[in-house]
Amino acid sequence: MLANVKCFTLNGLDGYAVDVEADVNNGMPSFELVGLPDAAVKESKERVRSAVKNSGNVFPTHKITVNLAPADLRKEGTQFDLAIAVCILKATGQLYIGDENVVFLGELALDGKVRGVSGMLPLLISARDRGYTTFFIPKDNENEASYLSGITVYPVERISEIVSHIGGENLIEPIRPHLFSGSSVRDDADLSFVKGQAVAKRAVEIAVSGGHNILLVGPPGAGKTMLARCIPGILPDLTFEEALEVTKIHSVAGILTEEGIVSNRPFRSPHHTATTVSLCGGGNTKIHPGEVSLAHNGVLFLDELPEYNRSALEALRQPLEDGVITIARSVGAYRYPASFILCASMNPCPCGNYGSEKPCNCSPYDIKRYRAKISGPLLDRIDLQVEVDSVSYDDLISEKQEEPSSAVKLRVEAAREIQRKRFRGKIHTNSEMRERELSVFCKLSSECETILKSAFSRLDLSARGRARMIKVARTIADLDGSAEIEPKHILEAVSYRTFER
C-alpha cells in the first residue's frame, strides 16, 4: 500500500515542504530510506522501527520503501521521524488520515515518545506561509508554536496519541495562541549603578538611539563591561516581528529557552578565543548561525577587542555594513540576518593605565602597536569611540544619584520613534541609512560642512567615516528633538571619533 504525509526541512531560516512517501510491499522484509537523507535522517529508520513497535502498533514485516521528495534536496535534522512513522502506519492501514496536507514534525524516542526538535519556529512560519494550517508537533516545542496565529497545532507526547486522536478518541487539545507580552525580567545591570562616566554614558545613549557601533576604551576595572551590560536595558523593547526574527535564529541554533520566544533583546558576549566560524556561522554538514546572527536585533559585545583573532574580527566587516551574512559552503549558501549593535571594549595600552591616575609604563611604540591590532577598516565602522575613566574611590561611595536606565530608555524610545516616522518601515535606525536616505534626511548647512571638512582632514577620515559621522550627528539631533542637523550636533559627533591610532 502507498501513503504519503507532509514534513518540512530547513535551509538556513527558510523551510521547504518535503513529501514523505511510504510503500509497503510483499517481499523480503526490509526498510529502505531514499531521498538524500543525511546521517541523522538515515538513523531514523531504527528509531521509527522501535518507536512504532513500542507504542502498541505493529511494524510491518514487509518490504518497506520510504522516499523523501524532492529527492534532490538534502534533508537535515531529526524532525522526519514522526512523519515517517505516521506514513508507515498509514500505509499499513493502522491509521487513516484523509487530509494530505497535515504536517508532522518531531523526533522519536525508542519507546514511542515524541521529542522536541530545533528550528521549530522557522519551520512552522515557512509552512504557514505556504498555506499549511494543521500541524502535529512535539509537546516540548509547544511554547515556541504558541505565538503563531492562524494555524492549528496539536502538541503530542507519544505516537499513540496521534493514533487515538485521528481515530476519534481522546482528542488532543490544540495549542492556544499566547499574546506576546514584550520584555519580561531584566537582570540587575542598570545605569544608576555606574558612577560618573558622563562621556561614556552619553555615547552609549547615542549608540543605542541610532543603532551605532561603539568602542569603549579604558583602564582595567573602569566599568567597561558593566556599561556594556546596561545596553540591553536601555534598548527599546522588541516588537513581535523582531522577536520572531530573533526566535527563528535562536530556534535553528537550538538555544531557545523554555519560554519559547526570545522576548528580551539578545546580548551576546563571545569570549575572545572565538573562531571566525563561531562568530560568523558555518559548519560542516549543517550551517549554524554564528554569534553575529544570534545577536541580531540586539548587542554583540566583544570584550578586550585586541585579544580576538585578527581574521575573526576582519570577518565582521561585511555584516557590520550589510546587516546580513551569507555563508557559502559546498552544501549551499545560507543567509542569516545579522543586524546588531557592536559594542567593543579595550584597554588604551598594554599595561592598561594610559590616561588614568596610575602611571603607564608603555612606550609610545608599544601603545601604537597595541592599538594597531584593531585594523583601520574595522575601526572605521565603529562610529563612537569613547574613553571610560578609571573610577576613584570617592566616586564609588558617593551618594550622588545617577540616572536610572529607565529614564534613559524613555529618551531612546523617543529618538527611535522619530526615526521610525522618518523612515516609515523600510529601515529602522539612522545607522542603517544608505546614500539615498543620507542625501534626503541629512542635509547640512554650509557651517556644518565647514566643521566636517576640518574634522575630515584632521582625523584622516575615509568617505565611510564621514558618512558615519553624519549619521551619528543625525541621531544626536534626534535626541535633541531637532529637525535639522545643527553645528553643535556635528561637533559632538566629531568629539566621539577621537581615538588616536
Binding site: 575613566d389 553643535k488 561637533l491 568629539s495
Partner: protein, 353 residues
C-alpha cells in the same frame, strides 16, 4: 649630478664599511687632494701598515667598476650622495671637525643650502606640547628649513608641522635603506629631504644617535628643545649647539613634569625661554606677524578659561565648573579642539595649547 674626481673619491671612501670614519679622515690627510686615492697602490700600502684585509678592500673599492656599480645603486634607490667637497654640502657643517664625509640624501637636496633651524623633542612629549610644536614648526618653516630627527613625539610633531611647506629635513641615525618606515617619512621623501650621515646599508647602533644629534646641531642656525627628560638624547643636540656657539631655545615646564626636566635644566644654563615663534624670529632679524586666532563664542571662552586654569582638566570637572550639560559641553570641546586651542590628553582629560 656632476661629481668631480675629488667628490667621487670621497664617495667611494665613504662607502667602505671596514674603516671607521675617523681613520678615513686620517687617510685623507696623507694626500693633497682626495682624488690621489685613485692612484694610490694599496698593495704597497699594506706593507707599510700591516693591516692586510682592511687596505685590501679599500684597494678593491678604488676601481672604476666598483664606482660605477656604487653610483648606479644609489641612483636606483633614489639616493644622492653629497660629499664634503661638493658645493651642495651645507656650509655651516664645513667648518666643524667632526663633519661627516658624505651626507646621503633622498628628496629635495637643495634644502641643504637653505638656512635651517633644528627642532627636537623627546619621544614622551605631552599632547598639548605636540600641538604647540606643530604650530611653531609651521611658523618657523616660512623662514627656515626645519631640521629634526625621525623619532616619535616631538620630532614627529615638528615634521608634521613643517611638511606642508615642503621644508622638512629629517636626519636619521641609520642608513637610508632602513629609513622610510612611516607614512610621514614617505611624504618627507616626496616633499622634503631625508638625510643620513651613514652609508645606506648600515643599520642603526646606539652611538649613531650621538653622531646624528651633533650633525643636526651643526647644520642649523639654532636649536629649539620642545621637551627633554632628565637624561634625554635631545640634550646632546642642545649641548652640541652650545658648544658650536649657536642659540638654544627651550620650552619652560612646570616643576615636576618628567618630560620637561631636561628642558628646564637647559634654561638654567642659559637657553632662551620660548613660548612661541615670536621669541625666536626677532633674534634672526625677522619680523613675524601672527595671523589672528579664530574667534571664540562665549561658551568656548568659558570652557577654554576653565581648562587654562588647571593644567590638565577632566571633562567632569569642566562640566561642574561651567554648568554646561554633557552634550553641549562635548560640542564646545570638540569645537575648541578643531580650532587648535585645546588637546585631548587621554582619559577624557584636556590640556590648553
Amino acid at each position: 649630478m656632476n661629481y668631480t674626481r675629488d667628490d667621487l673619491a670621497v664617495i667611494t671612501l665613504g662607502s667602505v664599511l671596514v674603516l671607521e670614519e675617523k681613520k678615513k679622515w686620517e687617510l685623507l690627510e696623507r694626500y693633497d687632494a682626495p682624488s690621489d686615492l685613485f692612484t694610490e697602490d694599496f698593495s704597497a700600502f699594506l706593507i707599510r701598515n700591516g693591516k692586510k684585509d682592511v687596505y685590501n678592500s679599500i684597494g678593491e673599492a678604488f676601481t672604476e667598476e666598483y664606482l660605477s656599480a656604487l653610483l648606479s645603486d644609489y641612483e636606483r634607490k633614489g639616493i644622492v650622495a653629497v660629499p664634503y667637497t661638493s658645493a651642495l654640502y651645507p656650509s655651516p657643517l664645513r667648518d666643524y671637525e667632526a663633519k661627516p664625509l658624505v651626507l646621503y640624501c633622498m628628496g629635495k637636496v637643495e634644502l641643504l643650502q637653505e638656512p635651517t633651524f633644528c627642532i627636537v623633542g623627546s619621544r614622551k612629549t605631552l599632547p598639548n606640547i605636540l600641538k604647540v610644536t606643530e604650530q611653531i614648526a609651521w611658523d618657523l618653516s616660512e623662514h627656515f628649513a626645519i631640521v629634526t630627527g625621525a623619532a616619535e613625539g616631538g620630532d614627529y610633531a615638528a615634521t608634521v608641522g613643517s611638511i606642508e611647506r615642503g621644508k622638512t629635513v629629517c636626519v636619521f641615525p641609520c642608513g637610508l635603506d632602513f629609513a622610510v618606515k612611516k607614512r610621514v617619512h614617505e611624504r618627507v621623501r616626496e616633499r622634503g629631504l631625508l638625510v643620513s650621515p651613514f652609508p645606506p646599508s648600515v643599520s642603526t647602533r646606539t652611538y649613531f644617535y650621538h653622531i646624528r644629534n651633533r650633525i643636526m646641531a651643526g647644520m642649523s642656525r639654532g636649536v629649539l628643545v620642545v621637551s627633554a627628560g632628565k637624561k634625554s638624547g635631545t640634550l646632546i643636540t642642545a649641548h652640541c649647539a652650545l658648544e658650536y656657539g649657536k642659540p638654544v631655545y627651550a620650552f619652560p615646564y612646570t616643576i615636576g613634569t618628567a618630560s620637561g626636566e631636561g628642558a628646564n635644566a637647559l634654561l638654567k644654563k642659559g637657553a632662551y625661554p620660548t613660548e612661541n615663534v615670536l621669541d625666536i624670529l626677532p633674534d634672526f632679524g625677522i619680523n613675524f606677524e601672527r595671523t589672528p586666532d579664530p574667534s571664540l563664542t562665549d561658551e568656548e571662552k568659558l570652557v577654554l578659561d576653565c581648562i587654562r586654569e588647571g593644567e590638565e582638566v577632566h571633562v567632569a570637572q569642566i562640566g561642574r565648573l561651567t554648568n554646561l550639560d554633557a552634550s553641549a559641553l562635548f560640542a564646545v570641546l570638540s569645537a575648541l579642539e578643531l580650532k587648535n586651542r585645546i588637546v585631548k590628553s587621554g582619559g577624557n582629560k584636556f590640556r590648553p595649547v
